[in-house]
Amino acid sequence: MAAAELLSIAAFKDGKFAQAFPSFGAERIGAPVQAFVRLDDRKIRTREEVRTPDYLIIQDYHLIGAVPVLDGIKPDGLIVINAEQKPEDLNLKTTARVETIPATEIALEIIGRPIPNAIMIGAFCSITGLISIDAVQEAIMEKFPGRVGENNVAALERAVEIMEKRKDA
């Protein structure tokens, strides 16, 4: 939910309309949860859950076998997965574009805790260009002022760097 919240705040800073909400309220650390984000250039009225997303961010690739997380992704959509493997090694049954990034590893190195949010957001925004990295940085620093925020911004920048390199390759 924190990632969805940050995405929506960053999109708002970019002048977009954004809506973010969780699907499961009984969140506890470690339990599978879903959160949804909508972006638009006009006021967002609908309240239905996002069942056929354009983009899917999977914070833990272990979920792929445990819950039907790939159901509904648009055939030409984008899936960003926190995984050390390359996309082709995950053997996913989807026509959507798949990108992976070892977000937990990066988080442990830079933030010191296995919190992949900033890295996943960084990868997503870098690939799609939907939300500016500056806005995400600002959103992170507002939510987590001081050291925690700075570390998360550093992790975000690393994710962007990795994705930019991939684009060049």
Binding site: M1, A4, E5, S8, I9, A11, F12, K13, F17, A18, Q19, A20, F21, P22, G25, A26, I44, R45, T46, R47, E48, E49, R51
Partner: protein
């Protein structure tokens, strides 16, 4: 200032701007973020209020009852089982004419336990004598609280602001949070009518024997009916002061030309509007009538708005078990007997216990009533989960 903010936090900030003297609440999902934020605001010294921690919702309601009787502006918030536990006090608050404001973060009722959204909780106390206002989005949820204190303190009726749990309380979306001065200018200081004070002992709500009780109910009923004017006035004053429409009795969307009218309340009206626009592009004329004030019920407005509409469908997130749709009953009762003939008023219950209400579900509902009226149906019922022997 326009902010991307969680619904609960927006409500907490606006409630704080209304400067309640006493806040008492017990945490319960999905209301918790509201009172947590208020506790932080009071703790940080940004609001000069007594925040009374209690061991249950029964006590929370009792604390605000006592505070209000002593002349304080008092606020509480709850959901579901919390509201049911409060219910004895809820009736007393209305009977004592105490202008308390409460947020009901709407949630399903046990058993089985469900923390997710529907509107069975506020419905369970609809007859208690409170004004009940339903918010469409988080902007309206915030705005309604400012209006609620004003309405309550002008009518001496308690006001419950209902906002869908999770769908609104936990949603981040843009909300314009007013400046403190704007709220101060709009909401005058609370002038209590009677004050309970130990220096001058008196009691309220004590005892009415059969010679008097009936009249107390008549008076409360009439007061609620009369609050219609205040609700409308405060809503239009709000529009003048803050520059946006919010609250009131009913609202409509593309109603004038509509062949089919959907009636509903709460956050699902946003999804309904989206469907209406889709159907319009396909050449279908569907409109929305939104109930903003559920109690007092806008009977005359509903009738006036729908006099020429012969195909009406009521969608609600609550049920009177053994009877059917509750809002549907209210709508059916809004038409004079002679005008019920040939008028189709279909009834759908949906979204209980947080079941997603998709645009496709709503489209199915509208297309079904276009063909024939539906006496009563559970939208999205999974037949495979139901066995005849269980019923």
């Amino acid at each position: 200032m326009l902010k991307q903010i969680e619904g609960s936090h927006a409500v907490a900030h606006v409630v704080a701007q209304c400067r309640p003297h006493v806040i008492s609440a017990y945490p319960i999902t999905p209301q918790t973020h509201i009172v947590e934020e208020l506790a932080d605001i009071v703790g940080a010294g940004q609001l000069d209020a007594e925040f009374v921690n209690v061991e249950s919702e029964f006590s929370a309601a009792s604390v605000v009852l006592g505070a209000s009787a002593a002349g304080a502006r008092a606020y509480t918030a709850t959901s579901s089982q919390g509201l049911l536990l409060m219910s004895e006090v809820i009736y007393c608050i209305a009977g004592m004419r105490l202008p308390i404001v409460m947020t009901c973060a709407n949630r399903a009722i046990s058993a089985p336990l469900s923390i997710w959204n529907d509107q069975q909780d506020s419905m369970a106390v609809r007859d208690a004598g409170w004004i009940q206002l339903h918010a469409e989005d988080n902007q309206e949820a915030s705005d309604l609280h400012i209006q609620a204190f004003k309405i309550a303190e002008q009518t001496f009726l308690p006001v419950m602001v209902c906002m869908d749990g999770f769908i609104l309380t936990h949603a981040y979306e843009p909300v314009d949070i007013p400046e403190q001065k704007e709220v101060d200018d709009f909401l005058p200081a609370f002038k209590p009518r009677h004050i309970v004070d130990p220096r001058w002992p008196r009691g309220i709500g004590l005892f009415a024997d059969p010679r008097f009780y009936l009249e107390t109910r008549y008076i409360l009923h009439r007061a609620l009916e009369k609050s219609e004017e205040t609700i409308k006035e405060v809503s239009s004053e709000f529009t003048k002061a803050f520059g946006r429409e919010s609250g009131g009795f009913i609202k409509s969307y593309k109603l004038k030309e509509a062949d089919v009218v959907v009636i509903s309340m709460g956050s699902v009206v946003g999804t309904i509007k989206e469907l209406i626009d889709q159907l319009e592009e396909e050449g279908k004329k569907v409109g929305l009538l939104q109930i903003c004030s559920y109690r007092p019920f806008p009977r005359k407005e509903v009738y006036r708005a729908l006099k020429d509409k012969m195909n009406i469908v009521v969608l609600e997130k609550c049920i009177s078990l053994g009877r059917g749709g509750i809002l549907a009953s209210d709508v059916r009762w809004s038409f004079p007997r002679a005008e019920k003939k040939d008028r189709d008023i279909s009834s759908f219950v949906a979204g209980l216990g947080g079941r997603n209400i998709s645009i496709d579900d709503l489209r199915y509902m509208v297309e079904k009533v276009e063909k024939e009226p539906v006496e009563f149906e559970f939208l999205g019922l999974k037949e495979e989960l139901i066995a005849e022997k269980d019923m």
